[in-house]
Symmetry: D2
Subunit: 337 residues, 4 copies
Amino acid sequence: MKQIVTGVIGAGRIGRLHAENLIFNMPRQFKVKSIADPFIDRAWAEECGITVVLEDYKEILNDPEIEAVLICSPSDMHAEQIIEAAEAGKQIFCEKPVALDIDRIKECIEACKKAGIICQVGFNRRFDPDFAKVRESVLDGKLGEPHIVRITSRDPEPPPAKYIKQSGGIFLDMTIHDFDMARFLANSDVEEVYASGAVLVDPAIGEQGDVDTAMINLKFANGALGVIDNSRKAVYGYDQRVEVFGSKGCMQAENKTQTRTVFSGADGVVSEKPLFFFLERYNQAYINELQAFHAAVSGTGKVPCDVTDGLEAVLIGKAAIKSLKENRPVKLAEIAE
Amino acid sequence: MKQIVTGVIGAGRIGRLHAENLIFNMPRQFKVKSIADPFIDRAWAEECGITVVLEDYKEILNDPEIEAVLICSPSDMHAEQIIEAAEAGKQIFCEKPVALDIDRIKECIEACKKAGIICQVGFNRRFDPDFAKVRESVLDGKLGEPHIVRITSRDPEPPPAKYIKQSGGIFLDMTIHDFDMARFLANSDVEEVYASGAVLVDPAIGEQGDVDTAMINLKFANGALGVIDNSRKAVYGYDQRVEVFGSKGCMQAENKTQTRTVFSGADGVVSEKPLFFFLERYNQAYINELQAFHAAVSGTGKVPCDVTDGLEAVLIGKAAIKSLKENRPVKLAEIAE
Amino acid sequence: MKQIVTGVIGAGRIGRLHAENLIFNMPRQFKVKSIADPFIDRAWAEECGITVVLEDYKEILNDPEIEAVLICSPSDMHAEQIIEAAEAGKQIFCEKPVALDIDRIKECIEACKKAGIICQVGFNRRFDPDFAKVRESVLDGKLGEPHIVRITSRDPEPPPAKYIKQSGGIFLDMTIHDFDMARFLANSDVEEVYASGAVLVDPAIGEQGDVDTAMINLKFANGALGVIDNSRKAVYGYDQRVEVFGSKGCMQAENKTQTRTVFSGADGVVSEKPLFFFLERYNQAYINELQAFHAAVSGTGKVPCDVTDGLEAVLIGKAAIKSLKENRPVKLAEIAE
Amino acid sequence: MKQIVTGVIGAGRIGRLHAENLIFNMPRQFKVKSIADPFIDRAWAEECGITVVLEDYKEILNDPEIEAVLICSPSDMHAEQIIEAAEAGKQIFCEKPVALDIDRIKECIEACKKAGIICQVGFNRRFDPDFAKVRESVLDGKLGEPHIVRITSRDPEPPPAKYIKQSGGIFLDMTIHDFDMARFLANSDVEEVYASGAVLVDPAIGEQGDVDTAMINLKFANGALGVIDNSRKAVYGYDQRVEVFGSKGCMQAENKTQTRTVFSGADGVVSEKPLFFFLERYNQAYINELQAFHAAVSGTGKVPCDVTDGLEAVLIGKAAIKSLKENRPVKLAEIAE
């Protein structure tokens, strides 16, 4: 097995998560040589045994020994770093979103193509074993032709209202995962979107011009219909369920819990709440996506999701924003132009 | 307990079901004196011990001993019979839909009001113990404010394509139950509808100008969002599930099965398919709705769903038809005018 | 369908339950002509429309119009009434236990045989649809050869300690149902019993010389092994589960609940407790056993459980008592002698 | 965090599993310096980066740099190696069973005590998160006083009959895990055992004088009752369930599956079979037990299960063998003497 020398750009929550997964779970596959972040926690880096700790990510790009980079910086830096990393000939794993601007994303696609490098986008949920199994049951025909795709995706707590301002709103910071999941499960592109929304959780979110509860209808190219429902706050935790209904049957992936113990007591029969939030829920998926990245870089696998997928998810998000604003179904073709 | 002398108009499948429930399950509450149907199976009536078997329902209306009638005739006769029965001073239980024409339904409302009689409409699903419990959890505040209502409603087999022609199509013959259920669960009227649909099950349905797979978004007066997904054919049977998500929690009602046995074998862990179709699934609900009718007629309870509810369901159905045709959200106010 | 003219002996809780089931659920199959109980509630009988209300059950036996009797009197009267009813040529349905004395039960078997009449014993649990399906899966070979039979049977509340004195103790008043269920599910007789027990719920039960928590091992004639666990008090309600493990798979019947709704809230994911006690849990089973009795009397079915089955259950119970006392496995052959 | 320099004795299936867990999952906690096995796969060792590969385990014991050893050799070498390792002052993790001879186990206890070192025994199931949660609910009083402990433990496939000969039979090679689990869950020692068994799976097992299907009753020192049911062959896979019933409620741990997806198709509603066998099922438990060992060696935690626990499990196993042979309940005191 080839060990890939890697640099990590960005040491925030997700950057540290990926770095730790590479170091402690995939030591045979990856060697984390260096990490760059202006505000890095050096004690943490030392504990992880990362020897090269940098402030400027460009030093990683200039290091000829480094074959692959993980871009985990703030979202608005992703596109620039992708382009620079591509030009430096690095294989790229980039957190989503690639960018919120369509043209910028297209530049990234172009840059990667020109450089002949891989750019995997961090749609981690695709690597969840349950969702992957639903997808597989679509691909292998077990479900027949997909007719209906249903996704429930609810967060345990809303983000601070000020986060909304920079994030692009619910459709670009939260539903964007579900948009990708919808394409993944239907095995088809989305052609049209109708979004409805409401402010039912936190009025401060409404004051930012966003909604906190949403229902989004999707029409897929293959004729299937889809629906995503979102809430910024489910009191019982992180609710992440999917269902694909097809001509030969229906497959559901239910929430996951810490244990499967069930307690029968005077007040009822109680099982556990869903795993708290994405770090717990998609723990295995974060490892799996980097294993897939290893396979893609080593040439033993295909890139499972790239900047094109990132582009599609943003297009759907933009269509949803326009649909909500204008209260009408919006075709992706309108946005893509 | 007061025994109510009753006449049954129409002895098709649903008429016979109701008559048998009255005779064999509620003998203390109801006495079925007579039944009218031009094509009645007299042997069946005899076995049930119904002594007066008529061809013309007007004889039931003219019988002064009869206090209540069950209208189970073909749908296009409902409105006329409601009006006549109201004029004859009978208490009425009528199968849905009351009529497909909005004005005609309003005439029925008027006639009942003028006669001072009860007209309960057969929205049997409201009386399903599971769905009733979800509703109750909305009313008693256990779920907090309702934010999202989700209904999955899929039939085991599509009807013959020619049935579609007379039925008014999927939104008026099938989804109409779900429209009522949505209002029931959200405890709120629907204000706007957006419907998408596709022909994925049977092209013959498409040739009738109808769809066989549908996804309908609802906006409720109380601010909640709703979605209904329908299919004319689920290979695993009659799929009838609801979910209400609110500020304090989420309640789901799953499918019911004949038994709760689970078989673990070499091919997997297998539990039963949902109960086959509406007669099995809503078996208890059909009994419960007539017990509620008894209570309403006896004055010990309120009419749980009347012609006004029937009107609302048809309005939503008409809005869905228009929405699908014009591919835009349609307000109920547009239809009601 | 033949309507069987029936008399009910005993109008306590179970007598009234059976009478109401006959009258309100099976009016075509049975006519309840008379009921006898020295302490009968006449208002109840009137409401049920039973015209002949007697103090002395012998009048029922002397009524030539009556074809079948239901014996629902106190347990210590069962044997005498079976013998008298058999001599009077009545078809018999008798509540369990037939008697606690082995010889007395054998006299009942003899009397029925001599009279050529049917005597069905009220092992109602055999008629529960879930348990019946497990049995059916043993009979039709779906489970292969049965290897292990597991029964969990726990009551919601202990009976008053003084009841224990007359009942014969836990093995004869409570586990006796499970002993019959074990034979039913294994499709085999029991050959040897080892019982352990403890007083963990109520010391007053211990003072009566009985246990309130028990674990009973069974060896079946067909080689399978069985275990029953009992408690007089499960705080979450009436816990009634069975499992048969065989060479081709395992089938479990889980507890039943009022509805299948599930509430996800801040404290967990909560489903309903089991149905409260036997009247609720075996509601359908009580109806089904009388339908089977109707079939047996009408000659369209076989008697599903008779005095011989009652005898076997008591033999196992006696073996369990002896086993607990002597702390050793006890063969049924020891008791039968 | 202190990194413990470790040597692994034995590189069979379980030795390699532990070594890989130390190297690839706990690189901060452990450094695997050397491994000893006369038949070692050197390519595997190289891939794992283990630099010192030995044939003779004594070289590990003689290496002053090594602080801890994992004994994963054939069972009949465990006791000798424990004693030698203790004498060499190494901290010990030893696979079960310690020995099949009671006196030999006592010598091990003595040797560890004398040397003042830790000897953790590999009762991996205690570290399964589900079972650990049931235990915790006993300890924290959530279940009240424990009354009944139920363990179902069935293997997917029987071992070769010749394995039985050396293993000591089902009670010492298979049920021994359940005996430890029973003590763990009841939080109490076992005082008396009654075992029944049958040969229903494979006659060759019977020819070795062993059984392949067993039911074992336990009486605990705290008054609770327990039962374990075993089969060497469950066609649906590795069936590992536990239940503790107490005065305040009941907790169950159900089987675990690869995913929680559910497929509804024409043949039923199908969920996954249990995880195939112990390596998959107890994957996390194997990691957790070594983390606990790290804590115990580092002085940040207590040894969770030691040779005394190993002794108790063997005593119960010996009592079960005697009970089965003599068909009578056997007290542990009889065996311990």
